[in-house]
């Protein structure tokens, strides 16, 4: 029997990790850790899981006379005392993020726009974090992963870039003009780029795969298969930045042999995270006491950097090689490594691709995506269960498909008008949405970890009332509006100490383009706020900002957020002039899934579509339009709507939303539970209603809380399908509510629905609806089948009444539709039709009144 897997491992937010150090630098006090609510992570804490160590390190130059000078921490005059902490190291899953923090390191300089993979190589004094195979002394540079060859090898360098040949701590063989860290240097047939001439220096650091294959790493072709620049899966190794106080942090993504076969980490193959604070190459005895007379390599080795601590390097200018991360493998750097052993959990059992059972699709809500990924194997692995599949699509589309017989059940978060058979709603998940963000504090001082937003700020964002740039500022009626939220005094007061620069990405909230219950919930939140609604209705905020006139008095709440602006700015670059477009649509550029938003946040790549470049190299010139560039590390500012499941899976931060005056609530187990306590059930088998006004009054309830229901027909559903839906509801509300990362368990971002406690009513409702679905006996005329106030005219095409007609696999059986053009509408004036009788009636009434009054008056005179 397999050992009971300690599966209760879910991604953790590196909340703790990222507060350290950052606050002191900017003078902003982050709330004490104890005050911080726990994120919605059902993971049980495992003791002894964290790791920390302190090491002392310094750089030495040996002069021609044998004297040695040390470069050490200027604040203490002694060697750097670097401490590294890792928040968890055991039972990791593929792509799980591990929080790493450090302090006491040398401040970094020349910050890269993108510090991952080859992008981080031009920085100075960074902290290199790598994943390597082996533990302890088994870890060698050759077992450490890099995604490009020039992150590990130095091929045909000039003497000026050959600092490693002067490495004080390296062996003689390692400082030769042409050398390899492993075995012989391959010949021209394998490595044609290695130049033999006197003036060229080469050091190869080959990669050895888990299977023992050696990749020489002298060019892109001699690297393992997973190595690629610009791959779809971004690099995980990073040259991270240390702030002015010597602290820094990263969330490091772990790769197993599934993601990186060549590296080959799994339960049986031990691996480590290697952290190397770069202090610079220590240099061996110089040839001369006089600096000018030293060799080029000797001088190069003794360089101490081109950039000031804390500075950026947006243009990616090469810094000094001796203090760059590209020589992480040189003995002077390698000896300062921290080797953090990590272990991996059992990979979850997986379903057989040859399983002949046809899957049964449930259609709808993306909120359930992360849970469905974990739930699906628990169905196909169990022969007694059906093969469950979650097909994501807009809630409304999923519901229609279910109602028309195209799907066994829909997954939705609110009530939809059932046009045919009655529909029951069984709650299967308690989760919600969040306003995800990635925000860097200015001056390379780390990431913001406690963003706060209120309904009016969200209203300003979604109504596109920030102008974005000088183009948008030309919009009539918005002359006084800030260009971006970072310039809005209301936002600054809530979130002090952030950048005051405006960017187009900071003028928008990346959201969904299609109909979604998430959009409904978000707009319910705005609609429940008087101040926000005053703004929407046209009242300027206290600083004079007005709503974008295109959205003035827009009706809220709503399922789909429309793009209402039509302002086309004039002028600008030649490219803009030649390609006029609706500027505010390009700013908002909503997408069709929340997963895309989560990915955009992870990459800090706004979906703003205002890029307009002219390629003059061809005639006529080609215009390149589309998405702007990725944001630079240190200058990131981006907001987007994400599901709580995705936020937990990818370690995204979500903003605290205002509920009462001065009260801000983040999504936590407690705040979601508090919200669900207020939920009131509708009818016998309807969904629950979570009134936003009550929820805000309660104070500590999270406004983005949402329930996901399995909705299915209570009549005329195929018997087998009905049994499957009932089985799903029962499994989802029992086994599916056990927190953990294993098959069938509930991932982070969800709060368990339990038989007792605050979620008791949800549980009971789910069981009752499951029974009703199974029995298929609810008459069509129950009150919840929808009031009879259906829109006049069309009794909707009735779905096939005979359940046998609904072909099992053949997709939706088209309902008999009457597909003709309606007869021309009776051409008449409604006004005349109604007005005339009304006027006549009025005339009649008045004449009667006048007659009566006359009689009365006459009598009174008497």
């Amino acid at each position: 029997m397999r050992p009971a897997p300690r599966l209760a491992r879910v991604l953790r937010l590196g909340v703790v990790a990222l507060v350290v150090g950052a606050s002191a630098a900017t003078g902003v006090t982050a709330p004490a850790l104890a005050d911080r609510p726990q994120p919605v992570t059902p993971r049980a804490a495992v003791a002894g899981d964290a790791w920390s160590q302190t090491k002392s390190m310094e750089r030495q130059f040996v002069a021609a006379d044998g004297t040695s000078t040390a470069i050490s921490d200027p604040s203490t005059g002694s060697p750097w005392q670097v401490s590294v902490n890792v928040d968890h190291t055991q039972n990791l899953r593929g792509r799980e993020r591990v929080g790493i923090t450090w302090s006491g390191a040398q401040p970094s300089a020349g910050r890269a726009n993108d510090p991952f993979g080859p992008g981080g190589m031009s920085q100075e004094y960074p902290v290199v974090v790598l994943q390597c195979r082996g533990t302890g002394d088994d870890v060698r540079p050759e077992t450490c992963w890099t995604s490009s060859f020039n992150q590990r090898s130095q091929v045909s360098r000039s003497e000026n870039d050959a600092a490693w040949t002067e490495d004080l701590h390296a062996s003689e063989a390692a400082t030769a003009r042409i050398s390899s860290a492993l075995g012989e240097v391959p010949g021209k047939d394998v490595c044609p780029d290695i130049v033999e001439g006197e003036e060229f220096y080469t050091r190869l650091v080959p990669f050895v795969s888990a299977k023992g294959q050696v990749y020489p790493a002298c060019d892109g072709k001699t690297m393992p298969p997973e190595a690629a620049a610009e791959a779809a899966l971004p690099a995980n190794e990073i040259a991270a930045f240390t702030d002015g106080n010597g602290s820094g942090s990263v969330q490091f993504e772990i790769r197993t042999d599934v993601e990186n076969e060549s590296l080959g980490c799994n339960k049986l193959v031990a691996c480590s995270i290697v952290v190397i604070p770069i202090v610079g190459i220590s240099c061996a005895t110089a040839s001369s006491l006089v600096d000018q007379e030293m060799s080029v390599a000797e001088k190069s080795c003794r360089r101490t950097g081109q950039f000031a601590p804390g500075s950026g390097n947006a243009t990616n200018v090469a810094g000094d090689q001796a203090v760059s991360p590209s020589l992480w493998w040189a003995e002077s750097n390698w000896r300062n490594r921290f080797v953090i052993p990590v272990t991996f959990g059992d990979p979850p059992d997986t379903c057989d691709i040859l399983d002949p059972r046809a899957p049964t699709g449930f259609y709808g809500s993306e909120l359930l995506a992360q849970a469905a990924l974990q739930w699906a194997p628990a169905y196909c692995l169990n022969k007694k269960r059906f093969k469950f599949q979650h097909n994501q699509m807009p809630d409304q589309a999923g519901f229609s498909l279910m109602a028309s017989g195209g799907g066994a059940a829909a997954l939705v978060s609110s009530k939809y008008e059932a046009t045919g058979d009655p529909v029951g709603y069984a709650p299967v998940a308690l989760t919600g949405f969040g306003v995800g963000y990635i925000v860097d504090r200015p001056g390379n001082a780390g990431e913001l970890a406690d963003l706060r937003l209120n309904a009016r700020l969200l209203a300003k964002l979604i109504t596109q009332s920030y102008t974005g740039s000088s183009f948008g500022a030309g919009h009539p009626g918005m002359e006084q509006n800030p260009w971006a939220i970072t310039k809005d005094p209301e936002f600054v007061a809530l979130n002090p100490g952030l950048t005051d620069e405006a960017s187009e990405a900071a003028a928008t909230l990346l959201s969904l383009s299609n109909s979604s219950d998430v959009v409904r919930r978000l707009t319910e939140y705005i609609a429940s706020d008087k101040v926000a609604m005053d703004f929407v209705k046209g009242k300027p905020d206290p600083w004079g900002m007005r709503i974008n006139p295109s959205y003035k008095k827009i009706k809220l709440p709503r399922d789909e957020w429309p793009l209402l602006d039509d302002f086309v700015p004039q002028g600008g670059t030649e490219c803009k002039a030649k390609n006029p477009s609706t500027y505010f649509n390009d700013l908002a550029a909503p997408v069709s899934t929340m997963r895309k938003i989560a990915e955009a946040l992870l990459d800090a790549w706004p979906n703003v579509q205002t890029r307009c470049d002219t390629d003059l190299s061809v005639t006529p010139p080609i215009y390149k339009l589309g998405r702007v560039e990725r944001q630079h590390y240190g200058d990131r500012f981006m907001l987007g709507i994400v599901s709580l499941g995705d936020a937990q899976r990818y370690g995204l931060r979500t903003a605290a939303l205002e509920t009462g005056k001065g009260r801000y609530v983040t999504p936590t187990t407690d705040s979601l539970t508090a919200a669900v306590k207020l939920a009131r059930p509708e009818g016998q088998r309807g969904p629950f209603e979570m009134d936003m006004v009550k929820l805000r009054k309660a104070g500590k309830a999270y406004p983005g809380t949402m329930l996901v229901y399995a909705a299915a027909r209570l009549q005329n559903l195929d018997k087998k399908d009905a049994a499957k839906v009932a089985q799903f509801v029962r499994t989802a509300t029992s086994e599916g509510q056990r927190p953990g990362s294993g098959n069938g368990q509930l991932p982070g971002g969800f709060v368990p629905i339990r038989k007792s406690g605050a979620t008791q009513a949800l549980y009971a409702r789910a069981q009752a609806v499951a029974r009703a679905i199974e029995q298929q006996k609810v008459p069509a005329t129950t009150p919840e089948a929808g009031p009879a106030t259906v829109t006049p005219g069309a009794p909707e095409a009735v779905p096939a009444a005979d359940p046998a007609v609904a072909a099992p696999a053949a997709g939706p059986a088209p309902a008999p539709e009457a597909l003709t053009m309606p007869p021309t509408k009776a051409v008449s004036s409604e006004w005349s039709g109604r007005l005339l009788p009304v006027l006549l009636m009025l005339g009649l009434v008045f004449s009667v009144v006048s007659a009566v009054s006359r009689v009365v008056v006459l009598r009174s005179r008497r």
Binding site: L233, S262, E599, E796
Partner: protein
Amino acid sequence: MKRLVAALVALVCGVSLPLAAQAAVPYAQIEGTGSTWSELIVQQWIADVNANGMKVVYTGGGSTKGRKDFANNSVDFAISEIPYQGTDEQGQADTSQGRDYAYLPIVAGGTAFTYQLKIGKQQVKNLRLSGETLAKIFTNQITNWDDPAIAKDNNGRKFPSLPIIPVVRSDGSGTTAQFTTWMDKQHPSIWRPYFGRSGLTSYYPKKSGSRMVSQAGSDQVMNTIKGFSGNGMIGYVEYSYAINANYPVVKVKNAAGYFVEPTQYNTAVALTQAKINMDTTSQLYLTQNLDGVYTYNDPRSYPISSYSYMLLPTGGGDQRMSTAKRQTLADFMYYSLCTGQTKAGAYGYSSLPLNLVQAGFEQIAKLKAADPAVELTNRDVKSCNNPTFDGKNPTKNLLAQRAPKPPECDKEGAGPCGTETGTGEPATDDAAPPPADAPPAGEAPPAAVDPATGQDVPVAESGTVPVSGGTQDVYASPDTLSADRAGDRRPFGWLIVVELLALVLLPGLLATALRRRLTSRGAAR
């Protein structure tokens, strides 16, 4: 020892040990980029196979990017609507740069034309256009919705005077390539003078001074058209995007003279005429020649239908490949070609017919040829759970056979039908799709006469009163006004009755009233 005990316990308890499903070959993550045309269903397949332990990363970016990334060895696979072109628009190489590959058809679909057109405040949802009109719209020859050609396509229904704003893709796009291929083949006299040469392009040429708008990616095209400023816009996307957005699409005229929507059925019917290059020795093996699709005269055929392809790395020494990656590719494709096709319709695509699935298996077999350790046992047509499957006659497409006949009001010179588009539901007069072997649908239903205009209005076969397609959005409202206003007759009728009564009664009443007044005054004195 412990293990043995555990195994015994398991046996005694009747608990089966979890079987390592792919004991022979493990999976490794595969990565790809390319087509946004097929991205919506590919992402769903990726979510599905997660249960099988397969990790697939796909980030879209457009077909052109996909082909480039594949050539640069930065991805394991790519998805593209068109094969490598040799040289691209800028005269640069569009080849795999020596990387061995095979084309593998993955899903079929229709390139849909989605639009925003309002009459007053009401959105038109049943617009019909012929290919020629579409080509002229996208080459700036027809620039206003009140153009007579559009009225003619809609059986005389005139649309308001409103400039047409075509929305095209700004990035290198397979959707653009499919659309321009069709224009080049079907309307060369319109397309070629505009383009300045013959052939297709992945980058849509935009003429300065025109109203044409370009946007990157299918999502952005959809956003632009749906937006408030989108009235008058028309653009091209895979049908799936329109369905997801619940937005109308143009019914395009086919060679039989019917205006049809790119539903899974109509696309399947059209693609029965696709000529697939079956020369296994050709570099273009399995690529499509759609000439027959464009001109197929089945009334159910959607003319601009096509397939999307995966570029499969088949080289034995492929730098990025390993046994585990090849196995993942093979099983991911096995799922996609078979079970994955069952949901094509719900997402706005169309399932692959079995001959292509079979050919697809031959391509997958090349992975095993490159690496004998790849396990392909039982991954074949027999175990394939594909909705078009008919073991006896794999060249037949069940979906195409089941496809309902379009309603008569969608025929040229009739209608237009009032049905809403962009819902994924097939439009038909038939009560239900005929069984596989049923003869083609019967004659056109009897026509009725519109009470107001006196025009023929076909009645649904059931003989019930014609109703609109379910919502109260009115579709292109007929603007032919009848001479009188029948609806106003009743109130005016009442008015006449009242007036007559007044004529008779008022004089008498007045007289009595006056007399009373006089007598009462007299009495008061």
